[in-house]
Structures are given as structure tokens and as C-alpha cells.
Amino acid sequence: MNFQYRVEIVDENMEISKGIYKLSLSGKFKGVPGQFYMLKTYGLNPLLPRPISIHDIHENKISFLYSVVGEGTKFLSQLRKGEQLQILGPLGKGFNVENIKGKAAIISGGIGIAPMLYLSKNLKVSTLHLYAGFRDEVYGIDDMKKYTDKIYLTTENGNTGVKGYITEIFNPSSYDIVLCCGPEKMMMKTVKLCKEYNVPIFVSMEKHMACGIGACLVCTCKTKNGNRRTCKDGPVFLGEDVIWDA
């Protein structure tokens, strides 16, 4: 276990699309694709840190891509360059890039795109296709062009790409493996699709967390092998193992 608790200084925190921010810290950071950090702004409000995936790591920099959905992410978005951020990580089990081979598809819904840049950069597959679904604005895919062979987009209003949900245009039949992150319903659908075609799929689960390190058991994901801690045994699970909350 190689995680650490540190207080870092914000290097950059920029709105890159409506309500979507990219926050960077400079320094040396560890982590594999699919792992996350717990981020906490100063003070007791909000009380708990927020789990955010590694978006990218460079030699001297880490970045996070996040969507403002409530109070915690709003406070994060208000951080300016030079202000403090408490971080705990890298946490959890990410994607096992060594074992992912052949023709692969990444499928993401909304901010589920966040961990996919660092993942696509590190994958050693023969072909990589990205299927990314968004509500209206598209973000986070420009950086991924370099690492993917083809990108398919959907938006719910049809502004960019195909109008509809990403699960409607995704056919797993030609892939050896699928990697997925997004809202729970979307991941559930994708797992079902992959099951029909017998294609293995890994999903990155989002459960509400407190400790982030496996001690409090609030983030339990039910699986066919029993209860698993999303923060420590996950967040990446084999899709067929997950028992979905209705």
C-alpha cells in the first residue's frame, strides 16, 4: 500500500467546459489508471473529502477533471492557484493495463471520461476505440485523440455526434475487451450488452465514500464474490461480478 496524505498547492484550476474543471498540482505523484485520490478543501465544510480519479500524471504534475455537481465540487472549483488542497492517494485498484490486450473499446458517460485519458495513454493494446456520451457539451476528448484509433460521440441533444445515448451506438461484438466508466445505469446497460456478446468488461464503480482507504465500509459494492470495498478492492471491477443496486 503506497498511498500518502499530503497538503499540496493548487497550480491551476480551470473551467474547460460548462461546469467542468481541470485542476492540476505540481510535483511527483504516483498512481495507475483507474486509481483515485480523495480531495479535501480546508475546513469542516464540507466535512468529507471527495473521491476524484486520476485524469493524467506527468513527470512533475497530476491533473483531475471534475464536474461541479454539489457543494464539495463547488468548493473545489473555487480554489485558486496557490491555495491549499489536502490529498490522499493514490487509492484503490485501477485497471490492470498489463492484462488488457487486443482490440479494446473504452466507453464513457459524462464525467466518466475523466480517468480515460491516463488509461488510454498507458494501454498497450493493438487497437483502441473510444465511445463517449455526453448530455450537451463535449469535453475531455481532444487530449485523447493521440492515443485512440477512432472516437465515437453521442450527445442527448444531438449538438455533437449522434443524438442519443452512447449505449445505443455501441456494439461490443468486434472487441476483445471493454473498459467502462459513467453513471451506474449506463454501466449496467453496457455490462448487459457485453454479456450478450460474451465480451469481458471492466467497470469503474462510483460509490459514496468516507475514509477512502478501506476502513469504514460505507462504500460497499455487492459482487458475486460477496461485499467488496469500492475504495480498496475497486473501484475497477469485472462487470459480470457486480450486483447492481436496483
Binding site: M1, F3, Q4, Y5, K40, L44, N45, P46, L47, L48, P49, Q86, L88, H208, M209, A210, C211, G212, I213, G214, A215, C216, L217, V218, C219, T220, K222, G226, N227, K232, D245
Partner: protein, 298 residues
């Protein structure tokens, strides 16, 4: 001097990690030296393994959080075989938190723990009582008295009874637990509480109710520790929303021998060490030689 003696157990300092927030100590020990703690309390154990509750298990509220973990744990036997040997290596005292759904379960669990080298048993009486339609043992003093008496009669370890703030009368509850033979008391457990999802138009938790912890409960918990400490003559361990040395000192001045830190561990994983060094600093500044000098002084 920071060490405290509670029911014959010597703790190197009064900072104890609270049950359910610290697992079995392993995760936090990879972040910092947990041997600096006075003790670690285990996740709440039950006789048989428990899967815990379904659905959402946590909901953050202003200054607090609701949890509905539902006592997920490996059961006392696997705890003894797998977790305890590793826990022993952490270099601090171990308090086994144990609860049951029937008096028989309490007795069987204690008999198993008697044969181990845990330093103390913390009896969790906030568990739902099967015989009384699921109402917690710790609500009515007469029922709590029975559990404590039965538990004490078979317990070979120092027995600390953990009180629920949902007790009908916390002082009477404390009295009756003393009468039943408790060697020490700890309080408080979480407050029974709820939240409603206004879009789904129903309670947030499948279980409807959940337990409130964190800074939001501190002044109420402090009042309860104050009242109970004045009323009983056995050691009291205080907890509920402690996040700073100041909070911890307040509980000690209210009469607590030691304090437990729960939710605060989530805010900053090594917060127990900050609290400990903050207490030391305070003692130096105020010329306090022994922590007992300020116990119950308020």
C-alpha cells in the same frame, strides 16, 4: 503524564480510535504509526458474520454524516483467527467492540473473546433486540441492565459498556449499566436520524433511519458525558464529534478519562496524532503535569 488507567488497563494516552471508523487498524497503519494511539477499537463485531445493509450507506449533512453500514463484519471467530494476530502487531491496546441481537449471542461472543488477548471488551448495546421488535437494547435502562448483568457474569475482560444517545434517560441508563456490573462506560454512539430524498419522495436510506456522527453532535454528546460523569463513579470514555484537541480537552474537563475519535479520521487520516500533540501542547502551556488534574474540572 498522559497515561490513563481504565478498569485496570493502562493506556499510554487518552486518544482511542472509535469503533467502525478504523477497521481493524491495518489501513491507517499504512499511513502513520498507530502505536502512538492509546488504543484502537475494532469494527463492531457480532457472533456471526454480517453482510450489513443494502443500498446507500452514507449521507453527508452539515457538520456531520449519517451512516447505515449495518454492522458489516467478519464475525467474532474470523476476527480472532485473522484480524487479531495482525492487530496485536500494531503496538497499542485493543478494545473489541461486540454486539448481539439476543442475550445468548452476547454471552457466546464474550466467551470467545475471553480466550483471546484483547485488552478490553466494549459492549455495543445499540444493536437491535430481536426479542423486542428490533428496538435497540440501549434504549430502555431495564433491558440494558439485563444485558450488562448477563455479560458481566461471564466476562473475564474489563467490560466497558457503550451507551447510545438514543437512551430514554442517559443518566438512568448509566446508573443501571453500573448496577449491572460495567467496569467503565463509553458514550456516545450515533444518534438515530434520517434524511429524505425530495425527488424520490422517500427516505434516503433503505433502513429509513441511520446514525448521525461528526461535529454536529458534539455539544449534545459533551452534555451527556458531563451528566453521566457526574452521576457514576466508574471511568467514562467520551466521544461524539471530536475533531480537535480543544474538543478532546472539553470532554476530559467534562469528566472523561479518555476520548474516542471516529468521524474525524475521515477528515484527516492522522487527525488522532494532531489531537494528541494539541493536548500535550495545552498541558505544557497551562502547566498541567498529569491529565487527571483537569479531569471533570469543568
Amino acid at each position: 503524564m498522559l497515561n490513563v488507567n481504565i478498569a485496570g488497563v493502562n493506556f499510554k494516552n487518552p486518544i482511542i480510535a472509535a469503533s467502525g471508523t478504523f477497521g481493524f487498524g491495518q489501513e491507517y497503519s499504512s499511513l502513520y504509526n498507530v502505536s502512538k494511539l492509546g488504543a484502537i477499537t475494532t469494527k463492531g463485531l457480532t457472533l456471526h458474520p454480517r453482510e450489513g445493509n443494502n443500498g446507500l450507506r452514507i449521507y453527508e449533512t452539515p457538520g456531520g454524516m449519517l451512516n447505515s453500514v449495518g454492522l458489516q463484519n467478519p464475525g467474532v471467530i474470523r476476527f480472532i483467527d485473522e484480524e487479531l494476530p495482525r492487530m496485536k502487531r500494531l503496538g497499542t491496546k485493543i478494545i473489541a467492540n461486540f454486539g448481539g441481537c439476543t442475550i445468548d449471542e452476547y454471552i457466546k461472543g464474550i466467551e470467545l473473546l475471553n480466550q483471546t488477548d484483547v485488552d478490553m471488551i466494549e459492549l455495543n448495546i445499540s444493536c437491535p433486540n430481536v426479542k423486542y421488535g428490533g428496538m435497540a437494547f440501549g434504549v430502555k435502562s431495564s433491558i440494558a441492565y439485563q444485558v450488562v448483568r448477563e455479560a458481566k457474569s461471564c466476562c473475564k475482560k474489563p467490560l466497558m459498556v457503550k451507551l447510545s444517545p438514543n437512551a430514554e434517560d442517559i443518566v438512568d441508563m448509566a446508573f443501571r449499566c453500573c448496577e449491572g456490573g460495567a467496569d467503565a462506560l463509553s458514550l456516545v454512539n450515533t444518534f438515530k436520524a434520517m434524511e429524505i430524498d425530495i425527488h424520490k419522495r422517500k427516505p434516503v436510506f433503505e433502513n429509513i433511519y441511520a446514525g448521525l456522527s461528526g461535529p454536529a453532535i458534539k455539544p449534545v454528546a459533551l452534555r451527556m458525558v458531563y451528566d453521566v460523569s457526574k452521576a457514576v463513579n466508574i471511568p467514562v470514555v467520551g466521544m461524539g464529534g471530536i475533531t480537535s484537541a480543544k474538543d478532546a480537552i472539553q470532554f476530559i474537563m467534562a469528566g472523561a478519562h479518555a476520548v474516542q475519535i471516529g468521524t474525524a479520521n475521515f477528515i484527516k487520516p492522522d487527525i488522532c496524532l494532531d489531537i494528541l500533540s494539541g493536548i500535550q501542547e495545552f498541558m505544557e502551556k497551562e502547566g498541567i503535569k498529569d491529565i487527571s488534574e483537569i479531569r471533570g474540572i469543568a
